[in-house]
Symmetry: C2
Subunit: 351 residues, 2 copies
């Protein structure tokens, strides 16, 4: 298979981890006789520094004409602590999601047997946890109007959802549930929010088309608690943009490290693959960042194009590396490997 | 001291737990020679059933002329699963908060030594955790405009915050931090939301007035993760309404049971005390609900009026009951006491 892959390393640890997943993808291409063509582009703080634009036109163009985007991470503290900054790295990511129409963000979470000890949660609570979060990604309060009053005395963010926006991600989630344990939990705040009531109504109606999938509902506050109390109850979680952001980061504790969690963001025309962790600026260049989330995102890329055997090879390699403790410091405290060494090891297993 | 206390038992387990805290408050009044006068009023689904109004005018009036409100719980599943219901129990609670001007919700969370085993979190992560969450309670997306388009194809919730709304709760949080470990963490999503940037700016400015308090910032997604990874890092958390709702329910796992968590909601003229758990309809009337959250809310009531010794007596009694395992089934699986028996025991300790 021929694939044109846009590589957007971004900020902080983005470049060093993305380098490892590109390496792994090249090994896959070699072994399985595919042709993957990679092209790098600027995004985030790196792009602001050079072009004063977190998503340069050329980058968006490249992504549009590529088959897939491999994304690193975005964000830098010098913007976070400046509420007046007009241009911010995160806008690059948000414009990219919107520009490519990536309406569904898919985040699998599972407890690796070997890592159960790493988790802050007790082993008996998380053993067997295996869920996937479908987060709506181009709507809600992220993309509604936002403004500050002229006198600077108040600010507003608007959250809007349409039936169409809810439906398209809901269908993907129901389809995923059909292939998994056939349970879908909608997380909302329907006792307070009008948008949540529209979600509940729309998803209930769509649920009729998937009679094999058991649908239930949880308020987001309760969901945040249940995620820790009893994570094995979840199979597919469907939720809106902001709640999905919060819950998926929270869910990362189940796996033992956020450095393991991959995600795919898909739309009708494009697909992007990125770790769920951020740019982790304090770790930049130290060789301590875990490349596995990015590498597993690359595996999701392979799956997305139907390269199932290839994706399995990557996932198996990751599992073996965890079993053998060939891991970065977040997982292997005593005798850790560098970012690059982990990448090399995985590359070697696949080649 | 003379206190007029409005008692709003509400729905589900609300009445049975509130009965226990009234009992405890009466024991306190007897022992310390106070005069507490209690008056009941309707709220929530119970009020809808009788008067088609989740917050009858008479209830609000009673609360306004009382010194404090003791609140049970609110909500019923027959409304949750009906997105078209025009009248909902939760409106009663929200109108009450707004009507009484209760702009700050204060939720202390701590790990009881005896209960550390109960928590889904590993002991070494939570030992010593002791934080208090200051949640803004009468602003944000809870109280902004909300509407569905005429064609029913989209819905909107508006989130607005003013400098004034942010400031008044921020001052309370900083003052609390001064009396505690002098650390305040603002949780927001300033990399995406305009309101969050106003929070960050306003709180940073106010922080200058409290030079002894170390101020830091966390994005809400990261905070949801840190709450589990490393809860002892927190002292005072300050956040907006929706994020506070989610984070405080999540934080309840640290204590081992949500049935232990109390809250105070305060404004300039009124104060209300309520457990953070909900109406738990499945448990109604079974005698299994934990009354401790309500009883500790009563202790917060006593503290609020400067009755420190009295509040300590209640808290000591609760600690002893936990030590002796005189607890409901959420905590004492094998040999549990009923809601009423726990109340009786605490009443007995105080009398
Ligand atoms: C960087 C930020 C804008 C982003 C988000 O909130 O969506 C990140 O937290 C994520 O989850 O991908
Ligand atoms: C019942 C509901 C409206 C309420 C809220 O969301 O504020 C509850 O969850 C709480 O935290 O007190």
């Amino acid at each position: 298979m021929k694939l044109k892959i846009a590589v957007l390393p971004g900020d902080g640890i983005g470049p060093e981890i993305t380098q490892q997943s590109v390496k792994v993808l090249k090994a896959v291409a070699d072994r399985f006789d595919h042709h993957f063509q990679f092209e790098d582009a600027l995004v985030g703080a790196a792009a602001i520094d050079l072009l004063n634009n977190p998503l340069p036109e050329a980058t968006l163009e490249l992504c549009k004409k590529s088959d897939a985007v491999l994304f690193g991470a975005i964000g830098h503290p010098r913007f976070d602590n400046n509420p007046d900054a007009k241009v911010r790295p995160e806008q690059g990511l948000l414009h990219l999601r919107k520009g490519l129409g990536l309406f569904a963000n898919i985040r699998p979470v599972k407890a690796y047997d070997k890592l159960i000890e790493q988790s802050p949660l007790k082993a008996d609570r998380i053993a067997g946890a295996d869920m996937v979060i479908y987060r709506e990604l181009t709507g809600g309060i992220y993309f509604g109007d936002k403004f500050t009053a002229e006198d600077g005395q108040s600010a507003t963010d608007v959250c809007t959802y349409s039936v169409e926006e809810i439906s398209r991600v809901a269908h993907l989630a129901f389809k995923a549930a059909e292939k998994r344990s056939r349970k879908l939990t909608l997380v909302d705040k329907a006792n307070v929010l009008e948008t949540s009531r529209l979600w509940r109504k729309t998803v209930t109606a769509i649920g009729k088309e998937y009679p094999d999938v058991a649908l239930d509902f949880l308020f987001v506050d309760n969901a945040a608690m249940q995620m820790i109390l009893n994570p094995t109850q979840f199979d597919v979680i469907l939720t809106e943009n902001m709640f999905g952001d919060i819950l998926s980061d929270e869910a990362s504790v189940i796996g033992g490290s956020i450095g393991l969690l991959a995600s795919a963001s898909v739309g009708n025309e494009s697909a992007m693959f990125e770790p769920i962790h951020g740019s982790y600026p304090q770790a930049t260049g130290k060789g301590i960042a875990n490349p596995v989330a990015s590498i597993l995102s690359a595996a999701m890329l392979l799956e997305h194009f139907g390269l199932i055997e290839e994706a399995e090879a990557v996932k198996k390699a990751v599992e073996l590396s965890i079993k053998l403790n060939v891991c970065t410091i977040d997982i292997n405290k005593d005798n850790h490997y560098t970012t690059e060494k982990v990448g090399d090891f995985l590359e070697g297993l696949i080649s």
